[in-house]
């Protein structure tokens, strides 16, 4: 007997999203999950007017702001935790235009949902948004009775609900972005999220892709690295893979040692990035 499977594919957060649900779950589960992701996109985007661009306008003007958008408020709480988890290396307030500015310049009161900046800065949630959106989508699916699902946002962010439909963990292999056919690591997920970040490979050459900023000195990260992080939430996994990408050797060691089965860092500086045929093709 086959396992009932349903799929929803769409574009959001600037990437392609796939939601695969297996087995039980109400009729409208996928629609609810899709709406959840689109809701995060609407709240966190800086590419069109949104609660986040409104917040940035206020922060740049030096005002203190009450966050009334519930999705943005929840994201800020998650970011505050992720910032702490990554020793401050994940920093959505790091911006080359304002060298030295960062999350530490923000005063965020969780209980009143008020935020103020001690110097002009602006927030850019970047990849964190994708993981956070998958978290909200997983919550919507669970609310709809789903117990088995695999969600992907642009292939670099994955979240799973429950075990694989055939039992056990969901097995994923992370390919080496600099060498076709080579695998960096194989992992198994159960009720977890996975995030992959890299400075190498075709996707990184997309012209619209923002450079990765190192919050410690505001510089652009150029080291050839690929990082992988697994966590209970997509938001935390994104924050960690980003942090590992920008971390110096000592910090990277500390973060890796704290969870060796969930955090991976690969130095790809020796392998040349392949760029053949890129002109004709488009990155995912």
């Amino acid at each position: 007997m086959g396992i009932a499977a349903r799929v929803e594919r769409f574009v959001a957060m600037g990437t392609r999203i796939e939601l695969h649900v297996f087995g039980v779950g109400s009729e409208d589960a996928l629609v609810a999950a899709r709406r959840a992701i689109e809701g995060v996109d609407d709240a966190l985007t800086i590419h069109r007017p949104s609660p986040t661009t409104a917040l940035n306008d206020e922060l740049l003007a030096g005002h203190s702001v009450a966050i009334d958008d519930p999705v943005l408020a929840e994201a800020l709480i998650a970011i505050d935790a992720a910032h702490a988890l990554t020793e401050g290396l994940f920093d959505p307030a790091a911006d080359r235009r304002f060298a030295g500015a960062g999350w530490g310049d923000l005063v965020f009161d969780r209980s009143s949902a008020r935020i103020a900046a001690t110097r002009p800065l602006a927030l850019d949630f970047g990849g964190f948004g994708k993981g956070f959106a998958l978290d909200r989508a997983c919550a919507a699916l669970r609310d709809a009775g789903v117990v088995c699902a695999c969600l992907s946002a642009g292939e670099s962010s994955i979240a799973v609900i429950g075990e694989h439909p055939l039992g056990g963990g969901w097995p994923f292999a992370i390919p080496d972005p600099s060498r076709t056919d080579a695998v960096l690591v194989e992992v198994e997920l159960v009720d977890e999220a996975l995030s992959i970040s890299t400075t190498v490979g075709a996707g990184t050459q997309a012209p619209e892709r923002a450079a990765m900023i190192r919050p410690t000195d505001g510089g652009i990260v150029t080291a050839a690295r690929c990082t992988v992080a697994i966590d209970r939430t997509g938001g935390a996994a994104e924050a960690m893979s980003t942090a590992l990408l920008v971390a110096d050797a000592a910090r990277a060691r500390r973060l890796l040692d704290a969870a060796p089965a969930q955090r991976f860092l690969y130095d790809l500086s020796k392998a040349a990035a392949r760029t053949d045929d890129t002109a004709r093709m488009q990155a995912a």
């Binding site: 499977a5 992907s152 055939l166 056990g168 992370i174 390919p175 990155a283 995912a284």
Partner: protein, 423 residues
């Protein structure tokens, strides 16, 4: 078709219009259609005291209009007029009891009509329209309004001064598929609209055979510059109206290039036009019309961040990303009870070929939108109040088509005129 069958199809057509216009924001987006359809839904079953129409111009379009007017419940053709006798004769079968005239002034003088319908060559619209208003009559006139922007405005000024209705023929504004498309676009289904790519492509000379008793200027008036702006006024007007309507704005500027590229047969108007109409916020309508390739036909591709609408085909398409191959394989594996590692996170490449998904139907069919235009007109004449919003759309579409012609003729960007008549 029997009367009973027609009543049924009429009812289902009007129901479709009512359904399409019954959405949030539709009362402001298509108020003319809301008015016309709700009046039509409550219309009396037979023509009691209909609005009496005199049709000027019984060429191809005029005859089609007469047949549509016959279907309406509140209008009737009591007079027909054409300066070219063979066309008047051809029209007779559709309006056997109507009085016939060779000169429109005789028809106006003979009285007995409430409104005129103008379906003559473009350069004659304004004058015929002024004469009708001067005779105290209402006017229904085919698109485009007039040969010049100034005359389009003058038609409106005259209507206002005479206190009469002026309605312009834009059947797409009453078409259930278009209304449905607009409703779904307004509901956000195709995301933020940034571009409309519209085309009217044909593969024929657009030239009619000239009978022995007529001359070329008379029959092929579309190909003469003083009579018509060619593709712009005869075809593009429809699509420019659709563009303004869906983008909910008028263009700020237009650039364009026109040429006589293929049919070098002595015609004066372009057989090939390409224009870009710019709208606020960087939005664009890209328009092409040509007469030597019909593959892409007549269409407006309304493009948003989440989807596309093609109203002529009657379809709406979602933006569907290519499938993630590894996840698709996982899916198939599960279906056959097989568990394999899923390679993920590598850069996925795919060539950017056109997407050919079938999309979803917006409803399509042979509708009676031209009949509904007249029922709306009949209602407007009786109430002494024009269908709301319609004339503005028509005026802006005609101005856009003529401004496009200027941009091509002068080979320079033309900004939207600031001295248009207020409606």
């Amino acid at each position: 078709m029997t009367d009973k069958d027609f009543n049924l199809s009429r009812r289902s057509f009007i129901d479709r219009v009512l359904t399409a216009t019954a959405g949030a924001g539709m009362a402001t987006a298509a108020p003319w259609a809301v008015s016309a359809a709700s009046a039509a839904a409550g219309a009396e079953p037979v023509k009691s005291n209909p609005v009496r129409l005199g049709v000027i111009g019984t060429g191809d379009r005029g005859r089609a209009l007469i047949q549509n007017i016959a279907k309406s419940r509140n209008c009737t053709v009591v007079a027909i007029c054409d300066s070219y006798a063979p066309n008047l004769v051809k029209a007779q079968q559709w309006a056997p009891t109507a009085r016939r005239f060779a000169d429109h002034r005789e028809m106006l003088d003979a009285r007995g009509i409430d409104a005129v319908v103008i379906a003559t060559p473009l350069d004659t619209h304004a004058k015929l329209c002024f004469d009708a208003f001067d005779a105290g009559l209402h006017v229904w006139c085919e698109k485009a309004m007039a040969r010049t922007i100034a005359d389009c405005g003058a038609m409106i000024t005259h209507a206002k001064a005479a206190g009469k209705i002026l309605q312009i023929g834009h059947q797409r504004m009453f078409h259930p598929t278009y209304l449905n498309a607009l409703k779904r676009a307004r509901a956000g289904e195709i995301g933020t609209l940034t571009q409309i790519r519209a085309s009217w492509h044909r593969n024929n000379a657009w030239r009619r055979a000239v009978p022995a008793d007529a001359n070329d200027r008379q029959i092929n008036w579309r190909l003469y510059r003083d009579r018509s702006a060619g593709l712009m006024t005869e075809l593009a007007t429809h699509q420019l109206q659709v563009g303004n309507w869906f983008l909910d704005a008028v263009p700020t500027r237009v650039i364009g290039s026109g040429s006589i590229c293929f049919w070098k047969d002595g015609r004066e108007v372009y057989d090939h036009v390409a224009l870009i109409y710019e709208y606020s916020g960087g939005r664009k309508l890209i328009y092409t019309s040509l007469l030597n390739n019909a593959r892409y036909g007549c269409e407006e591709q309304i493009q948003g961040s989440k989807g596309t609408i093609e109203p002529e085909l009657g379809r709406i398409y979602q933006e569907v990303p290519a499938k993630v191959l590894a996840l698709q394989r996982m899916h198939k594996d599960v279906a056959r009870g097989h568990k394999r590692t899923v390679p993920i996170g590598g850069a996925t490449w795919f060539p950017e070929l056109p997407v050919t998904t079938p999309g979803e139907s917006l409803g399509w069919g042979e509708y009676d939108e031209t009949m509904l235009q007249f029922e709306g007109f009949g209602e407007a004449v009786r109430a002494g109040k024009p269908l709301p919003g319609l004339l503005r759309q028509a005026y802006q579409a005609s101005v856009a088509s003529l401004l496009g012609e200027q941009a091509m003729d002068q080979n320079q960007a033309m900004t939207w005129p600031t001295n248009l008549v207020a409606i």
